[in-house]
C-alpha cells in the first residue's frame, strides 16, 4: 500500500515530508534525553544507576521518594503541560486567524489569576507560612485550583456564548478576550488593594507558575484531557489546513468552520485552564512554540500539530530543569525562564528565516 502511494508522489515531496517527520522525531528524542537529565538534576544527589534501579522498582527508599514523588510528576507535568499549552496555541492561532493568539488570548490567564486571588483573599485559602525554599505557601491549594479553573473557564464560556449568539467571528472573539482579560485584571487589582501584604505575596507567587505544585492525580487529569484534545486536533488537521487557505475556501472544501472554531476553542481553553489551575500561569510557550515549529517545518498541520506538541514539551521541560538547577537550592519561576530561553531562540529563528529570504 505504502509503496504504491509512493509511486504516485514526486520523489522531492517524499524527501520534503520525510524531513519534517525526522525533525519531529529528533525533537522527541531530545526530550527523552532531557527527561533523564531532569531526573538526575536536583538538590538530592542521585547517580544514573540509582535512577535506573529506582525506575525499575529496585532503588532504596530515599531515592524512591525523590524520584517517584517529587521529580517524576514534575517532569511529566512539564511534558504534558508544555504539549497542551503549545498545541492549544497552535490551534488558536489557526482558528482565530491571528498570529498573536495564544491559549491566553481569551482572558484565561487573567481569569485564573483572579480566581486564585479570590480564593486566597476572600475564600481564605491563603493563610501563609514561610519556608526556606518558597517564600509563601498556599494553605489550601484545592480551593485555589478550583477557583482559578472556574474563573478561567468562565471567561471562555462568556466568549463562546457570545460567539454562539452573534456568530463566531475571529476578530470579535479576540477583542472580547482582551476585554474580559482586562476586566479580570481590574478585579484582581481591587482584591489586591484590600488584601494584606502576605496575601498579595501569595497571589503574586501563584501567578509565577510552578511545576512543583502538581501531584500524580493532577498529572493523570492533564494527561487524559490533553490526549483527548490532541486526538480531536489530529483528526481535524486537514480542516485547519483548509482554514489557512481562507474561510470561504475552507467552507468550499466542506469544513464546518463555525463548529470547528467553537470546539477548537473549547478544547484549547479547557486544557489550558486545567494546566494553569494546577501550575499557575506559564506564558510564552503557547504563543511562541507553535511559531517556532512553523518556522522550522512549515504550516502544514499534519506535521505542525505533533511538532508543536513536542516543541512545547521540550521547551517547558528545559525551562523547568534550568529553573531548578540554575540557583540551587532555589527554584526560579518557570514562566520567566521560558521567556528568557525562548525569546532569543525565537528571535534567532525569525531573523535567520528573513535573512534566507533575501
Amino acid at each position: 500500500m505504502k509503496t504504491k502511494i509512493a509511486q504516485e508522489i514526486p520523489e522531492g515531496y517524499l524527501k520534503y515530508t520525510g524531513r519534517k517527520t525526522a525533525t519531529i522525531v529528533f525533537l522527541a528524542l531530545l526530550t527523552c534525553v532531557l527527561v533523564v537529565l531532569a531526573i538526575n538534576a536536583g538538590s538530592a544527589e542521585l547517580n544514573p544507576i540509582q535512577i535506573i534501579m529506582t525506575l525499575l522498582g529496585k532503588g532504596d527508599e530515599n531515592s524512591r521518594v525523590v524520584i517517584w514523588n517529587i521529580r517524576l510528576p514534575r517532569i511529566l507535568a512539564a511534558i504534558i503541560a508544555g504539549a497542551s499549552l503549545s498545541v492549544a496555541g497552535c490551534v488558536m492561532q489557526n482558528i482565530l486567524r491571528n498570529p498573536l493568539a495564544s491559549p491566553f488570548t481569551l482572558g484565561i490567564s487573567q481569569g485564573a489569576a483572579f480566581g486564585a486571588a479570590l480564593a486566597i483573599v476572600v475564600l481564605g485559602a491563603g493563610s501563609m507560612q514561610s519556608r526556606a525554599a518558597d517564600a509563601v505557601i498556599i494553605s489550601n491549594p484545592y480551593i485555589v485550583t478550583i477557583s482559578a479553573f472556574t474563573c478561567s473557564m468562565a471567561a471562555t464560556m462568556v466568549i463562546l456564548a457570545l460567539a454562539k449568539h452573534v456568530g463566531a467571528k475571529p476578530e470579535a472573539m479576540v477583542l472580547a478576550g482582551v476585554a474580559l482579560g482586562s476586566l479580570f485584571s481590574a478585579a484582581t487589582t481591587i482584591i489586591q488593594y484590600f488584601a494584606h501584604d502576605v496575601q498579595i505575596a501569595a497571589i503574586v507567587f501563584w501567578t509565577f507558575g510552578d511545576l512543583g505544585r502538581v501531584t500524580w492525580n493532577n498529572v493523570n487529569i492533564m494527561f487524559f484531557l490533553t490526549i483527548t484534545a490532541l486526538l480531536y486536533f489530529m483528526l481535524h488537521r486537514w480542516d485547519y489546513n483548509a482554514l489557512d487557505s481562507g474561510e470561504e475556501t475552507a467552507k468550499g472544501l466542506g469544513v464546518e468552520v463555525d463548529k470547528l472554531r467553537l470546539i477548537g476553542m473549547t478544547l484549547s481553553s479547557l486544557i489550558t485552564s486545567v494546566a494553569v489551575a494546577f501550575m499557575g500561569i506559564i506564558g510564552f510557550i503557547g504563543l511562541v512554540a507553535p511559531h517556532m515549529m512553523r518556522r522550522i517545518i512549515g504550516g502544514d498541520h499534519r506535521f505542525l500539530i505533533p511538532g508543536a506538541t513536542v516543541m512545547g514539551s521540550l521547551l517547558l521541560l528545559a525551562a523547568d530543569t534550568l529553573a531548578r538547577t540554575m540557583v540551587k537550592p532555589l527554584t526560579l519561576p518557570v514562566g520567566a525562564i521560558t521567556s528568557f530561553m525562548g525569546a532569543p531562540l525565537f528571535l534567532y529563528l525569525l531573523l535567520s528565516r528573513e535573512a534566507k529570504k533575501r
Binding site: 514526486p10 520534503y16 486537514w238 480542516d239 489557512d244 475556501t249 467552507k251 468550499g252
Partner: protein, 250 residues
C-alpha cells in the same frame, strides 16, 4: 440537467441581494454569469455552494437538494474557487492535496495521490510543485487554486472571477483548461466574469443579472447591444469577428 436553481432569494439583514433567481445547467455547459459590481454574482455562487443559505428557493445538484446535504457532501459535488486567495505556508503539492479533503476520512489514499498527480500534470504545475504558494506569482497561484478545486472531482465547478488577476496568456490558459475539463468529464462550470469578450470566448451560455434577478439568459443570441446597455448602462456595439461576437464600448 446537472444543476438547477429554483426561485432563490437571498438577503442580508440590511438589504436584498438575490430575488427569484431561476436557471438550469446541463452537463458540459460553461455558463458565464455577468452583471455589474455588487449585483449578486458572487452571492449566487456562494448560495449554490451552501456557503450562504438562501432564505427561499431550492438548489439541486444531480437530483440532490443541497440544503439537505452536509457541507462535506456538497464539497464532494461542487468545487469552488473564491475571488480572494489567501496563501499559507504550503507547497503547491500540499495545496492541491487539500482538494481531496472532502473525500479524506483519516489520511490520503493511493487514489487521492493519483488524482493530485494527474491534475498537477494537466495544469502544468510539475515544475514548481514543491515551491511554497506564498512565493508564487498571481497567475501561478490562480492555477493552483483551480487545480485544488479540480482535485475535488466536482460535478459542478464554481469560479468567482478566475481571470481577474491574470495576464492575457494566463487568462486564456486557465479558461482553456476549464473548458477542456468540462467537456471531457461532462461536468459543468459556472463562472462570474467582468470581461464580456473573454466570457463570450469561453462560455456557451450566459446569464445577465440586474438588480439581483435574471435579466436575460441564453446563448450567443442574448449578446445584443440593447441587453448589454440595459445591464451596464454603457452603449456598446456588438460586431462579428471571425464569426465570434465582439463587444465594443462606444
Amino acid at each position: 440537467m446537472i444543476l438547477s436553481v429554483n426561485n432563490v432569494d437571498f438577503r442580508y439583514p440590511s438589504h436584498n441581494v438575490l430575488k427569484n433567481v431561476k436557471f438550469e445547467v446541463e452537463r458540459g455547459d460553461c455558463l458565464a454569469i455577468l452583471g455589474t459590481n455588487g449585483v449578486g454574482k458572487s452571492t449566487l455562487l456562494k448560495c449554490i455552494n451552501k456557503i450562504l443559505r438562501p432564505q427561499q428557493g431550492v438548489i439541486t445538484v444531480e437530483k440532490d437538494e443541497i440544503s439537505k446535504l452536509s457541507l462535506r457532501k456538497v464539497a464532494q459535488k461542487i468545487g469552488y474557487v473564491s475571488q480572494r486567495q489567501e496563501s499559507g505556508r504550503f507547497t503547491v503539492f500540499d495545496a492541491v492535496i487539500l482538494g481531496r479533503k472532502p473525500h479524506i476520512t483519516w489520511d490520503v489514499t493511493e487514489r487521492d495521490m493519483a488524482i493530485v498527480n494527474h491534475i498537477i500534470k494537466m495544469l502544468g504545475l510539475e515544475s514548481f510543485s514543491l515551491r511554497y504558494i506564498d512565493e508564487l506569482s498571481g497567475g501561478e497561484l490562480q492555477k493552483v487554486v483551480i487545480a485544488r478545486a479540480l482535485a475535488q472531482e466536482p460535478r459542478v465547478l464554481l469560479l468567482d472571477e478566475p481571470t481577474s488577476n491574470l495576464d492575457l496568456k494566463n487568462q486564456l490558459d486557465v479558461l482553456n483548461i476549464i473548458q477542456n475539463v468540462v467537456r471531457e468529464q461532462q461536468i459543468a462550470a459556472i463562472v462570474t466574469m467582468h470581461d464580456l469578450n473573454l466570457a463570450i470566448r469561453f462560455a456557451d451560455k450566459f446569464i445577465f443579472l440586474k438588480k439581483g434577478t435574471i435579466f436575460a439568459a441564453g446563448g450567443f443570441e442574448i449578446i445584443t447591444p440593447e441587453i448589454i446597455e440595459e445591464v451596464y448602462a454603457v452603449p456598446v456595439a456588438v460586431e462579428s469577428f471571425r464569426a465570434i461576437p465582439v463587444v465594443v464600448p462606444l
